[in-house]
Assembly symmetry: C2
């Protein structure tokens, strides 16, 4: 039964209502104009080879004339899933996330998948809400760019339902791509020890995620093994005091008090830059009085005014590997249990680290002028 195209020019006799936007043309309309059936138009649209050149031309003409655009909703309903992928991230304004998110978004578009981006602010409720939205829209896959607050809950919702990949984060139940976080912490520790620092500090978020922990553990392991001491603090940036041993302590006390650390490793550039700012405010000079190391190597880290020594995460590679894998899962090329892919990382020594007071001698160890910016992977 060929359904009659609904009339557009004659609104059932009601005459002259000037509707601003008329109904969009459908396959049916094109078929009517071209004098063929819906299936034939469909074949033309999807580039099926089983159409006579003459017919194809006629149909194409009708398409152009009507300005026909396929309705992705209908197509996707028919196919059982949408050509969309969800991207879930903690906070976008964090430059590291923004950079990764852009890369992911671009890679998805390149694969013909529309990106739905949801931020969660680390709120489990918003996490749940985001995943629900994505699932209801039948996305073909989901990319997570941060650790989840409620991994179990989310796993229950998505595992086995839709392919997922974690980028710069890991979950045992999903494909994941990340760097060796602990190794990053170790590199930082060695660098600072070589510079002669012995009293060290680590700062991470008050609610650390697994990556923060791994970075800290790698760091502490090496320092402990070399006779250094580490004090760990929890801090989320901003004006609130950091937490040391469960109780708030102000920065002045930590950075200028007796037994103060001579070097600090922050588990993200975000925190490091904020701390840099505060240290300067307290009259603590970097790197003369205090060495500072971050993690991520966001674009701002290499600005001269910041010039932060940090651990570089290979963003492009992380994203490439992750999206490649997700797309593989989506079209069935990749099978088997979830895998963890590891990308390389390296330390970028810049201007916020210098010799410690206990250094064996000025200029020994790692000369201040030695910059490894060029040593890119």
């Amino acid at each position: 039964v060929t359904r009659a195209p609904r009339d557009t020019l004659e609104p059932d006799g009601r005459g002259d209502r000037a509707e601003p936007s008329a109904r969009l043309p459908t396959l049916e309309d094109v078929a009517a104009v071209a004098g063929v059936s819906r299936s034939t138009v469909s074949n033309v649209v999807r580039g099926s080879s089983l159409v006579a050149p003459a017919t194809r031309a006629r149909v194409q003409a009708a398409i152009d004339r009507l300005g026909y655009r396929p309705n992705a909703l209908a197509r996707q309903l028919q196919q059982g899933r949408a050509s969309l992928v969800g991207i879930v991230t903690h906070d976008l304004p964090n430059p590291f996330m923004a950079e990764i998110a852009t890369l992911v978004e671009r890679a998805c578009l390149g694969a013909g998948l529309g990106p739905m981006l949801c931020t969660t602010d680390g709120d489990p409720g918003r996490e749940e809400q985001a995943v629900s939205l994505l699932l209801e829209n039948r996305v073909s896959g989901i990319v997570f760019l941060s650790y989840l607050q409620d991994p179990e809950g989310i796993a229950g919702r998505v595992a086995g339902v839709v392919p997922t990949v974690f980028i710069a984060a890991t979950e045992p139940w999903s494909d994941s791509v990340a760097v060796d976080e602990a190794l990053g912490g170790e590199l930082v520790a060695r660098h600072l020890l070589e510079l002669g620092h012995r009293r060290l500090a680590f700062i991470g978020p008050t609610r650390p995620d697994p990556a923060d922990r791994l970075r800290r553990d790698g760091f502490c392991r090496v320092v402990d093994g070399s006779g250094g001491a580490v004090v760990a603090a929890g801090w989320d940036g901003g004006d609130k005091d950091p937490i040391v041993d469960g109780s708030p302590t102000d920065w002045a006390g930590i950075l200028t008090g007796p037994g103060r650390p001579t070097a600090v490793f922050a588990s993200s550039d975000f925190l490091a830059i904020d701390l840099l700012d505060r240290a300067n405010g307290l009259g603590v000079r970097v790197p003369e009085d205090l060495s500072l190391v971050g993690f991520d190597d966001v674009s701002f880290a290499s600005f001269r005014r910041i010039d932060l020594t940090t651990v570089h995460q290979p963003r492009r590679e992380l994203v490439r590997l992750g999206v490649e894998r997700l797309v593989g899962r989506i079209d069935g090329r990749v099978e088997g249990p979830p895998a963890l892919l590891v990308a390389g990382l390296d330390l970028r020594v810049r201007g916020t680290t210098g010799p410690g007071p206990d250094a064996p001698g000025a200029g020994s160890g790692s000369p201040a002028g030695e910059r490894t910016d060029a040593a890119t992977s």
Copy 2:
């Protein structure tokens, strides 16, 4: 005709294939389990009041048991449009954009609209591609966060088809929300003139958008009217030389040569911070040798290490007004021709501006210590 639910437990006698993920339950399945019709389940799902409490409970139980989730694709196909809104932006890593995008995304989610985010890198092709994707997915509205490369082309595609709003940008054919860009330029000019600067420079992108032009024009108008001189340069940041009067000139020449400007107004914080970096690299001190002003007031601008004097754009208000208007258009509350909504802006004086060499006297005009950070709108 009640369609028989396809059997899930008995895959047509083929027996024991252990499918990893079985088909997701549909309305039909829920109806079968609850012993009611599809419409009743639909009524329950959508919270229609016309359902007997007992029935509702029974249906709800079936929903929970099956883990039923509505298929947004089907619903949206039926309703003719998707509960999605497109967000189109130039570049996300620009902190100003990232901050705005997050706010927009949150506001949309709050209004029950799923955010599809597309970045274009200022490439007309990707612009077109993004809009096509959004249109094919029948989004209910589109938010543009930057000026378009091909406004005419895009207008032809979306005008009258789907509601749109420009935020921090304007187009005559669409609702728009922006600050008074020219006024911003004027405020900067007055500030610098008061400080005693007379030889001024403006830098903007090599391909300025209308906002860049308005900022420049407002700036130049005031400076010209006061006997100052302005040299304008085009620069996109990075290592390429800026363009002055059509020919590339290196920063050293501009900033240290004879007749060098004593103050620079950059049309975005992004450029300003990059320039700050380069000036420092050339041994030019800010603000002693050079005053510097940006535009946008991104979060980094207030960092102590940066401490950039800049024009503050009220992000939350811009987004609130814009999304409110778009949603109004979508559900028909707002009608009539496109409007331009204007939000207030103000100058945040920080540490990158100081008295000029031609200043009437040290400390006159605007004392260096006077900071207006608190003067928030």
